[in-house]
Amino acid sequence: MDAISIENVTKSYDAVTAVSGVNLQVREGAILGLLGPNGAGKTTTIRMVMNILVPDEGTIRVLGKPVSDKTREIIGYLPEERGLYPRMQVRSLIVFLGALRGLSEAEADRRALEWLERFELSEWADKKLVDLSKGMQQKVQFITAVIHRPPLVILDEPFSGLDPVNAATVKDIMLEMRSQGSTIVLSTHRMEQVEKMCDSICLINKGRNILDGELRAIKQSYGKNTVHIEFTGPDTFLSDPAIASINRFGSGVEAKLKPGADPQQILKAAIEVGAQINRFELLEPSLNDIFIEKTAHA
């Protein structure tokens, strides 16, 4: 059974079509990265899964059941627009939301302290939310989304506003939750995070999903069409007709090959012009490249 199944879903606001014929299956126990440029329809899709918006057409199922006010309660949800009662104490706020999500108050309190400790917020437990920094509020909100260990978690931009240390903590927690069997849907712009942790991706652009599936399979389908070269000496070989585009870094270049081109041809050309090769590696395309290619050509 799929954790989430979206079939042919369309949603328009007045004249604007936000989502048009999106199909998506999220396998149970997987981490899915929901990608797309700004305004692609990611948040609209999530809000429809949360039954906050109702699709104009199509059906959405959560753990096999059509979305309703009931399925909403299965999902741990971190909305894109953050916000909690600003004048409540952090600890009682987490306990309140944890209790609403089915924990006993004692259990919610125990877990609240545990989570606050993990995010190094223990000394802020009795402060009002409004006294916390944006990043700290973000962490509190993350805690409230996962405190009841939901089988399905939807996180809209979970890393925004977090420093690298806290972003790493959030990432670890997500991997931990997956190992405990939770399904996670993650909407983000951070390709490197998706690349590191997602099992599958869904790329949405202009309201349509233009690419979805297992991340590994997608990358393989592109083949090893990129060469990473570090060298000293002349770089005239980079104008070889087999190279479609190049991307220069400080220490070398990443050259994307034209379909069917032979990487050996590039190596040979480099040696012929007298370049000193330090590194020559065949790579799969990065998610970033795939994203740019797919969205730029759509």
Binding site: M50, Y77, L100
Partner: protein
């Protein structure tokens, strides 16, 4: 049910803990104590109220009897008027008056009374403080008594003290109720007006608190988090009783403290100022029960409307415009309550007090003045309950859609359309 209870608890606890609640709750009894103390203090220090006066009698023969009649005493037992001088038929009235004006301006005198030579002309009171209306009653009586005395004397009837003859009886008003009779000293009017203001203000205040509470959840985007765990209806069903609990707590503190104050006000006043009298006002328990009932009925009716309005808006400004929908009937009550006050048993009053949107203010008002027939009270209660249930049902529908709508404030036709959604 558990979730509703959690929400009730949160609403109650977070509100009761606020500084605003503590201050608002304590200020009423403190003001009560303060005003009792103030009355006692003023009574004790009322020497200044003694009016130093000169009588200028241009007609002749009236000054002495007028002065004799000005024998009232002020609260501390001292005389109200001190007549320092009586000037009969002065040779040059203008010069005399000029002199008296100078004495008033120098502070040596408070007022002077001029009795005209021609008694068909008005008497004149020249005073620095014409706002002191309390002087006018005794002065008019004294002047009239002196006149009557003079006219009787002209007809050959000699009396030493006309007040013996002219003294009338006071009219005492006694209120008749089902449970018996009580002497009326203006307390019925006081209680009635106090009730109207109290009910109006508290219905409005708690309604707006409910509205703001909904709006806060929307503007801070807490709503999206909340509805991932609770149904909108549960949220509404927890919020309204939660705020009602706050209102109940506040009322309980107010009622008990004001009740104590009214019962022991006299004792307290005596502590501040021995020998003074403070009127004890008796508020019937049955009236308190009715008021409590209509307040909570009205609270549920109005707060459901306010909650729906809060849910339909995304900003305070939008809400400020739409809140007139709920405030309108309450304001109307304030506009027409005097109609009911003057004629509590008129057809208009009966009809108005049966209309559920006005009943929470106007029915307790009627009950406080003149107990209406039981069927009218009962009908009003039934209508109020039925309407409240209906309004809560409709509000829940608006609320369910409204809480997740952001952006433009809905128009009235849009709100009506929301009501039709299943």
């Amino acid at each position: 049910m558990r979730k509703i209870w959690l929400i009730v608890k949160r609403e109650y606890i977070t509100r009761v803990k606020t500084k605003g609640f503590v201050i608002g709750t304590l200020i009423v009894p403190l003001m009560g104590i303060f005003s009792v103390a103030l009355v006692a203090f003023l009574v004790r220090h009322s020497e200044d109220q003694n009016v130093r006066m000169v009588i200028v009698d241009n007609a002749g023969g009236l000054a002495a009897s007028t002065a004799r009649s000005l024998n009232g005493a002020i609260a501390n037992g001292k005389p109200e008027f001190t007549i320092s001088e009586s000037i009969e038929r002065p040779a040059s009235p203008d010069a005399v008056q000029q002199g008296l004006r100078a004495r008033i301006n120098s502070g040596a005198l408070d007022a002077y009374l001029v009795i005209p030579g021609d008694l068909s002309q008005p008497f004149e009171l020249h005073t620095r403080n014409p706002g002191n209306f309390a002087l006018l009653g005794p002065l008019t009586a004294a002047v009239n008594q002196a006149l009557i005395e003079a006219r009787l004397r002209a007809r050959g009837i000699h009396v030493d003290d006309v007040s013996e003859i002219a003294r009338g009886a006071d009219l005492q008003v006694i209120k008749v109720t089902q449970s018996g009779e009580s002497v009326e000293k203006g307390q019925t009017l006081g209680i009635a007006i106090g009730l109207v203001i109290l009910l109006y203000m508290s219905l409005l205040m708690y309604g707006i608190i409910t509205m703001r509470s909904v709006l806060e959840e929307k503007t801070t985007r807490t709503m999206e988090v909340l509805i991932s765990s609770v149904q909108p209806f549960q949220l509404l069903a927890g919020k309204i009783p939660g705020v009602a609990g706050v209102a109940f707590t506040q009322f309980l503190i107010w009622t008990v403290s004001l009740g104590l104050l009214l019962s022991y006000g006299a004792v307290m006043a005596a502590m501040f100022s021995p020998g003074s009298s403070f009127p004890a006002i008796h508020v019937p328990i049955s009236l308190l029960i009715w008021v409590g009932f209509f307040f909570f009925g009205g609270y549920f009716l109005y707060s459901a409307m306010f909650a729906a309005i809060g849910s339909a808006c995304s900003t305070e400004q939008d809400a400020a415009q739409l809140q007139w929908l709920a405030m309108g009937p309450l304001v109307f009550c304030m506009v027409i309550y005097s109609l009911v006050l003057n004629a509590p048993a008129s057809t208009a009053s009966i009809v108005l007090s049966e209309i559920p949107f006005f009943a929470p203010v106007l029915m307790p008002l009627r009950i406080s003045i003149q107990t209406p027939p039981f069927w009218q009270e009962a009908l009003s209660v039934v209508l109020l309950l039925l309407t409240t249930v209906g309004v809560i049902y409709a509000s829940a529908k608006v609320y369910r859609i409204g809480v997740l709508m952001y952006g433009k404030r809905p128009t009235l036709p849009e709100l009506v359309r929301w009501l039709r959604y299943s």
